[in-house]
């Protein structure tokens, strides 16, 4: 699809095709099996019986970044791990999405002031699509974050030329 991406103007065909592609993408967001800290436990709960993220088609947790669409940064990122988070993000095939789950991934959380190794938000190394508040967020909050991400994907334009500004580029770690 790389050849066709972002080459066309708006018309009936492209909007319908866009609708289909976006529908496929938002209906099948495969997260990566990637837990960092406390939030990972709530992420597990989201996969489990009561909340069951699989209902929305996002339950196929893939262990390898190559097959994942969504990286849920569930927990505190420190500098040592940040390098790996960045690498894992780079290993994912596009289109890829990032959810910063919880206060730590969003902005350092309770470790903001005295946490000398804690990265003050994962958005300093990778672009984030959805931020979820909470420490840790409730599973419902993660489900809502997923739906916000789905809304975001629904509005994307695949074949048509982009009209939104590009995301700011994150600084490199190494």
């Amino acid at each position: 699809m790389g050849l066709l991406t972002e080459k066309f103007d708006d018309n009936v065909l492209t909007t319908r095709v866009d609708w289909l592609l976006n529908w496929a993408r938002l209906s099948s967001i495969w997260p990566m099996t990637f837990g960092l800290a406390c939030c990972a436990i709530e992420m597990m709960a989201v996969g489990a019986s009561r909340f069951d993220i699989d209902r929305f088609g996002a339950g196929a947790f893939r262990a390898t970044p190559r097959q994942a669409d969504l990286m849920i940064v569930a927990g505190t990122v420190n500098f040592k791990m940040g390098e790996r988070v960045k690498r894992l993000y780079d290993q994912m095939p596009s289109p890829k999405y990032v959810i910063a789950m919880g206060a730590c991934a969003t902005g350092g959380g309770p470790y903001y002031k005295f946490g000398y190794t804690v990265m003050k938000g994962v958005d300093r190394i990778i672009p984030v699509d959805v931020y979820i508040a909470g420490c840790p967020p409730r599973p419902e909050a993660l489900l809502e974050g997923l739906m916000l991400l789905q809304e975001k994907i629904r509005r994307q334009k695949v074949l048509r030329a982009p009209q939104l500004e590009e995301k700011p580029k994150a600084p490199s770690l190494v």
């Binding site: 800290a37 709530e42 470790y111 002031k113 946490g115 840790p136």
Partner: protein
């Protein structure tokens, strides 16, 4: 005194070459920090000869969150939330250890009802933690379904915790001087209800996972750790008891109301395979859940009305100078807080002795000689929480 076990026999590589007259090279594989079997962000560097491991080296620090430094910069009550996040599967126990250490410095004892509530919550949290441990161990072995069954009961427990303190995971409920608030009306009945439900559900895990032939094959005789090694390396909790050492802080250094409760310390007995293997550690966890239910029932029978917090302890705490170490039996072993106070409202040292950290240190010595698939089984049986090993 026993020599520490060798990580990798240095001459093994050469010997093999001579024996087989084939030039072979060990594979170095990097397991983690993002790997499904490392329970978080542990990284283990494995050296393998085909499927057989010849060396292992753990790398930690991917979740180092500087909690001890923070403890020296914030006051005693402000530090409570950080203790929650050490071992995020059993926050109640972390709160308890910290609160007891501060209370030791303050010299105050919580009223009886508070002590009973603390005991009930610590034991319920132990069950919740063991449920995750047993469930994720199933995933490590390759069985996904028991995990979901275990989490089903855990959700019931989390509802109970949520009712009493408002949080699902990070409670800050047990705090210096007592507990946050008294149990809401009907809460204790709910706990009794849970005990009955759990008694019915427990055989499900036992039959589905532990009694499974493949599970036994995968865990029995794998990762055997003799009792002496476990003691030498400072292992505690199910790791130590799985090796057949009869040691439980709840019985041997009783705190709270444990001296008034009647319970059995579960010790591995080599029910399948050798004493001290992965099966035994899991076995200890399985039966400890039942013992916890027993204790909770006794507490429910004994609890009486009254105050839950000590009236002298307020939000500002300035303990007398001195130092206190309190170790309690966490689901993973001895969780100790070592607090050094100089009489001001900020501690001089806030050390957390984390059981996972110590238990993990022996794993890299257990791995050589096992197969690659056993690495997942052994790390899983250690039941580590990275938030605690890295702090």
């Amino acid at each position: 005194m026993e020599e520490p076990p060798q990580t990798t026999p240095p001459d093994q590589h050469r010997l093999r070459e001579i024996e087989l007259d084939v030039r072979t090279q060990d594979v170095e594989i990097n397991m983690g920090p993002q790997h499904p079997a490392t329970h978080g962000v542990l990284r283990v560097l494995l050296r393998a000869d085909g499927e057989i491991l010849v060396g292992a080296e753990s790398h930690l620090g991917y979740l180092h969150r500087c909690a001890e430094k923070i403890g020296e910069n914030v006051d005693y009550i402000q530090y409570m939330p950080y203790t929650d996040r050490y071992d995020y599967l059993s926050s109640m126990n972390n709160n308890l250890s910290y609160s007891l250490a501060v209370e030791k410095l303050l010299g105050v004892e919580v009223p009886k009802r508070g002590q009973y509530l603390r005991t009930i919550l610590a034991e319920l949290n132990r069950i919740a933690s063991h449920l995750v441990a047993v469930g994720t161990y199933g995933i490590d072995i390759g069985a996904f379904t028991p995990f979901f069954y275990a989490l089903r009961e855990r959700e019931f427990l989390l509802d109970l915790f949520e009712k009493i303190c408002g949080a699902r995971l990070t409670y800050s409920y047990i705090r210096p001087g007592g507990v946050m608030n008294d149990a809401p009306a009907g809460w204790l009945n709910k706990v009794a209800e849970f005990c009955d439900i759990f008694d019915q559900k427990w055989p499900e895990y036992w039959n589905l996972l532990v009694q499974n032939k493949i599970f036994i094959e995968r865990t029995a005789n794998v990762g055997v750790m003799p009792a002496q090694t476990a003691i030498d390396w400072g292992c505690t909790g199910p790791m130590l008891r799985g090796s057949g050492v009869d040691w439980d802080l709840r019985r041997d250094q009783p705190y709270l109301v444990y001296d008034q409760l009647d319970f059995k310390v579960i010790v591995g007995e080599g029910y399948r395979g050798t004493l001290g293997d992965c099966f035994d550690r899991n076995f200890v966890r399985m039966y400890e859940m039942l013992e916890s239910i027993k204790m909770v029932r006794q507490c429910l029978a004994a609890i009486e009305e009254g105050e839950v917090s000590h009236p002298d302890v307020s939000l500002t705490i300035r303990p007398a100078p001195g130092e206190a170490y309190v170790g309690i039996e966490n689901p993973r072993g001895e969780l100790g807080h070592y607090v050094v106070s100089d009489g001001t409202k900020i501690a001089k040292r806030m050390r957390c002795r984390a059981p996972s950290f110590v238990n993990l240190s022996v794993v890299e010595h257990t791995l050589p000689g096992c197969m690659l698939a056993d690495a997942a089984a052994i790390i899983g049986a250690t039941d580590i929480v990275i938030g605690e090993t890295d702090r």
